[in-house]
Amino acid sequence: MSSRRPHPAWAPWLFLAPFLLFFAAFGAWPLVRSFVLAFEQTFGPRTTVYVGTLNFRFLFHDPLFWAAVRNTTVFTIGTLVVQVPVALALALLLNRPDLRGRSLFRLIFFSPTIVGSIFVGVIFSLLLEKRTGLVNTLLHAAFHSWNPDFPWVDGFVMPSLLMASLWLSVGFNMSYLLAALQNVPADQLDAAAIDGANAWQRFRHVTLPAIQPVIGILVLLTVVGALQLFDLPFILYADSFGNGPNNAALSIVTYLYQTGFRSGDLGYASAIGWILTIALVLIALGYRWLTRGEDAAA
């Protein structure tokens, strides 16, 4: 110990300084401020009035907020149910050792993620158009009872969003799972095969437990991402500022944006933001609690 040359005391601070400076200005301070703002009402950043818990009290019987919560929850559940199995299926297909062109397929499935949610939104808004959109034309060709007018009623909003979001993110999730699948210990699989287990049993008893932590992380990431849905509905339903027909596309973050930046009420927007944050923190804590045994076992 004594032969080690200690570093000068200023050294760590030198390296941390840029980060801490900008984090304090644009991360920590706004965080503190957002807490205060949640108890104020504003008309733009210039005009603020303290209103106590009025924002939160109003939030609890604000029909638009609850519509947003409902929509966002449905979207999150829908995403989980659709994306994770599809991603797993694709990863399993790509995992076969005798597959040629794996890189190419992976590239193809990953490409929508690279495109980004904005451009996916723009592309899908055209694909979903009445009569001239590809989706409607294909459906009408396949099912003659499908009205090519694609009535923009609330019932079709969620499927549209889920479709666009699936296309956008399935490659990303699939890559995670593929990497995990390729880390499954081969010797365990061999041992199971020698013991006479068939493919399904091998999957269920060796593969699945081995990739369970990654599935867990994927579920967490998907839920966290889905709860913060904004880009897709904002672009797809830009005419109604992201509301969609009968507010069926309104998500929590969209409502926050409308309140803060169209109506100028940064206070109410902060209140909404904190409700969302509390939900996310609870989910993260729940995840930590559920996976608490894993670190010990691994």
Binding site: F43, G44, V51, A238, P245, N246, N247, G264
Partner: protein
């Protein structure tokens, strides 16, 4: 030092080097590229026709005001609204004059009266003796708490533009139509399934069902609306209940008679051409669109007054429109006001605007102009301008409020829900839908009042 950099460069993979290089080069280019200098008098607007018109006037203006040349910027709707609001809220750059659409004006009035980003024109109009020159109903969308904040581009009367070839071929005489009941009764033969696929391909009337401003046409025509003259919401008035119940049975259910097209897209216009749409309630600015976007329908379109809600009732309504306002951020408010007056009161410009867009000026002294009587070949020889102008005095006022966008959204939501109920229950007569209509409108009114009471910046509307 040299070895320092050499060591650092060795760190870089090709990818990192690429991004680093891009960053340096592009940052240098951006820093060197000057942004367009902004000086003189600036106008922001969202309508291409207006932009062309005002730009053509720039040389004349510039010769009179060489130190303040005119710059006209055409900006898309959402971008215009976002920049305008950002400027009002946060002091980001604003022009001297902004043309705002009816749908965008609500947010501007949402805060304290003193914080409205436009200059209060009420006293200026009185000072210059101009207030009574303009048809009074046209001021209503741009007025908040009794103060006028913008000059109206038009009164925007609404008439029914219809496919005269189809209607006359079916032997229907539109002069016998007085009320909406007459209309849908006589136009029944034009509700057709043309290709036998079980879906109706032709409707006697079509609008954009999801665009709330069309329902507003019906509401204010029939004596309903969103707010009274004092700014109090009256979403659940008896008139509204009656009208909304009727609309639900027109838009949905087995007795559906109104089709849905998006009037602002190429796809929608194609449907007009194909004859899916027989008639569309059209404000003067929309009437101006037909010759430009559907030249193939020349000689096949005519105008008729809107059918009334009851015998002797109002036969027109209002829809859309823009105003021009002077921003408080302007460095030359008096000159900007002069320009606004020039653009909006000049008879020469009124005529050019009419020729370009069919918008009829709300300035009363221009109404006797002879060019309104000109027969138009596109519209089968009808004197379109005269027809529109005669409808103006009949236009109902459209009171604005800081809560206009909320009110519009709420009522639109009610209508959509009522449509779903109508479909499910198979309602055909308005009386069947009236109960649900009243219930939903009561909820909407309650929600809106909640919002109003929450806002600490507004003085509560008088009871």
């Amino acid at each position: 030092m040299k070895s320092f950099f050499a060591g650092f460069v060795r760190t870089l993979s090709p990818g990192i080097a690429l991004v680093l290089g891009l960053g340096i080069i592009s940052a240098v280019i951006v820093a060197l590229l000057p942004l367009q200098p902004r000086g003189g008098i600036q106008i922001w607007l969202g309508d291409g026709n207006h932009a062309n018109l005002y730009r053509a006037l720039a040389p004349e203006w510039n010769s009179r005001h060489p130190d303040l040349p005119l710059t006209v910027s055409l900006i898309s709707g959402p971008a215009l609204q976002s920049r305008m609001l950002s400027g009002f809220y946060s002091g980001t750059p604003l022009p001297d004059l902004i043309e705002v659409e009816r749908g965008q004006i609500g947010q501007v009035f949402a805060g304290p009266l003193k914080d409205v980003g436009f200059v209060d024109l009420t006293d200026l109009l009185a000072r210059d003796g101009l207030k009574d020159e303009i048809d009074p109903a046209s001021y209503s969308p741009w007025t908040s708490r009794g103060r006028i904040f913008g000059l109206p581009r038009g009164a925007h009367p609404v008439m029914l533009a219809y496919r005269s070839d189809l209607v006359e071929a079916a032997g229907i005489d539109v002069r016998r139509i007085e009320t909406w009941d007459d209309y849908f009764r006589l136009m029944r033969p034009l509700l057709q399934d043309l290709d036998g696929d079980g879906y109706i391909d032709r409707y006697p009337l079509t609008i954009s069902l999801t665009n709330a401003s069309f329902s507003e046409i019906f509401l204010i025509q029939g004596g309903g609306g969103y707010f009274d003259g004092m700014g109090n919401p009256l979403l659940n008035s008896d008139a509204n209940v009656r009208i909304v119940a009727r609309l639900a049975t027109w838009y949905a259910g087995p007795g559906r008679v109104i089709g849905d097209i998006n009037m602002y897209t190429g796809a929608g216009l194609r449907l007009l051409r194909e004859g899916y749409a027989v008639a569309i309630p059209s404000a003067d600015w929309y009437v101006g669109n037909y010759p430009v976007t559907l030249p193939s329908l020349a000689g096949k379109i005519k105008l008729m007054p809107l059918p009334a809600w009851e015998r002797g009732g109002r036969r027109t309504s209002a829809n859309g429109g823009t105003m021009i306002g002077v921003t408080k951020a302007s460095k030359h408010p008096e000159i900007a006001w002069e320009l606004a007056k020039f653009l909006y009161f000049s008879p020469v410009i009124a005529r050019q605007l009419y020729d370009l867009t069919h918008i009829v000026s709300p300035v009363k002294s221009t109404w006797s102009a002879s060019y309104y009587d000109r027969p138009e070949p596109y519209f089968c020889g009808q004197p379109v301008g005269r027809l529109l102008q005669r409808a103006i005095p009949d236009i109902p006022p459209r009171p604005s409020s800081p809560y206009l966008s909320s009110a519009v959204q709420l009522v639109n939501s009610v209508i959509t829900q009522l449509m779903a109920i109508t479909d499910r229950q198979g309602y055909v007569r308005p009386e069947q839908a009236a109960g649900d209509a009243r219930r939903l409108l009561d909820e909407a009114q309650h929600t809106l009042l909640d919002q109003i009471h929450r806002n600490v910046f507004q003085a509560s509307p008088s009871p």
